[in-house]
């Protein structure tokens, strides 16, 4: 049975309040989840008053501004700031997204920022994704060809076959979808989750790959695949606009018809 409430050591407490010191008229309250592994306390939600007149347009800009000007101890992952690397995936305003491409002007009222849901928190907004990476490894995300390597022949792909990968190859593995899925919350150790299944489909669907049957067989499992109940939180959250629910549906259909 899944545990719906948070364990005792994860209960969120009220944190510190950082009052604005710039006398700005255009303030926004930002509530940020904080947890410091070194102090042994429960997680808390700190509130920052941020001067929006001198802030970039994205949620990541707010976080960087807080780190630079208010509290340098706030911890989050970020790298490219253009929605390509997938590092800054977090829960903004109740939906998983990339902080670097989410406009804060879309959000009315206070802004709530949490780490990706149902992960072990390493610090502040950083969750532990090692299970997901292990699952990703388990689907063997590389091209498996029948060649021995002696042939020295290019494996070609027609334009039409290449188009079959559209909507799947764009995935940046930010884990927004997997951590938005209630099924993955309750069975994250066994169910592969939308991100990994979308990747699995991407390799199953690649015309150059010779291991399609084996791949399908490996994924056809009550827990690995069929824990998907088409809740569609994954598709709703994908910051790249991809459709993991459809990919999973396509795998199920392939299994039913092959």
């Amino acid at each position: 049975m899944a545990q719906f409430s948070l364990p005792q050591n994860s209960k969120i407490e009220v944190g510190n309040y950082f009052k604005d010191k710039t006398n700005s008229k255009n303030l926004k309250k930002i509530n940020v989840y904080r947890w410091d592994p070194s102090d042994g306390k429960n997680p808390r939600v700190d509130t920052f008053e941020v001067d929006m007149d001198n802030c970039g347009p994205k949620v990541l800009d707010i976080l960087i501004k807080i780190k630079n000007e208010i509290d340098p101890s706030i911890t989050f992952r970020r790298s490219c700031a253009h929605g390509v690397c997938g590092s800054c995936a977090m829960n903004v305003d109740g939906i998983n997204t990339l902080a670097c491409i989410k406009s804060h002007s879309d959000i009315n009222g206070d802004l709530n920022i949490y780490p990706l849901p149902h992960l072990k928190v390493i610090k502040d907004l950083i969750g532990d994704l090692s299970t997901l990476y292990k699952q990703y490894e388990s689907i063997q995300p590389w091209l498996k060809v029948g060649q021995t390597g002696q042939e020295k022949v290019e494996i070609q792909q027609s334009q039409k076959d290449r188009e079959k990968l559209d909507g799947y190859y764009e995935c940046i593995l930010c884990a927004c979808c997997s951590t938005s899925c209630p099924s993955y919350w309750w069975n994250g150790d066994k169910y592969l989750g939308p991100a990994v299944l979308l990747q699995a489909y991407r390799w199953i669907n690649d015309s150059r790959d010779n291991d399609k049957k084996e791949r399908l067989k490996k994924v056809a499992d009550e827990l690995k695949l069929y824990r998907c109940h088409t809740i569609m939180n994954c598709t709703n959250s994908c910051p790249k606009g991809l459709n993991p629910a459809k990919a999973i549906g396509s795998i199920k259909k392939m299994l039913a018809t092959s």
């Binding site: 989840y33 709530n112 149902h118 390493i122 088409t230 569609m232 459709n243 396509s250």
Partner: protein, 128 residues
């Protein structure tokens, strides 16, 4: 696990509901209610074997306000289950995964279930 004793980040507590996720959990709850209802209906049919008195007794309870409410609720729960299951069948053949389409069919399912309930009720009342 290296981070076994670290806190768990909040999930249900903070995640926003969507049409699709609300319908999904409703489908499950209603499914359980329907299983109980079908069992109940079987026992009701069985009680006919026990003679007129038992039948009259069930009939009496079903005619109370609560009984009527229960019956109308079951009309709705079956309607909802049927419509949402149709949605699932379309998903199984690979249709309707588009975000907009899924949202529209979800809303249609929700409102359609009430229309179907009224139809059930009227058919039961021999209006047609």
């Amino acid at each position: 696990m290296q981070y076994k004793n670290n806190p768990l980040s909040p999930h249900l507590q903070i995640y926003r509901w969507h049409v699709s996720s609300l319908l999904s959990i409703a489908h499950r709850i209603v499914g359980v209610a329907n299983i109980i209802a079908v069992t109940f209906i079987c026992f009701w049919a069985l009680s006919l074997l026990l003679g007129e008195e038992t039948y009259e007794l069930t009939n009496f309870y079903l005619n109370t306000f609560f009984g009527k409410f229960l019956i109308i609720f079951l009309c709705w729960s079956f309607s909802f289950q049927i419509l949402n299951e149709a949605r699932h069948l379309f998903w199984d053949i690979g249709l309707g995964f588009d975000l907009k389409v899924a949202k529209i069919t979800g809303i249609l399912t929700f409102f359609g279930s009430f229309i179907l309930t009224i139809l059930f009720y009227l058919v039961g009342k021999n209006i047609f």
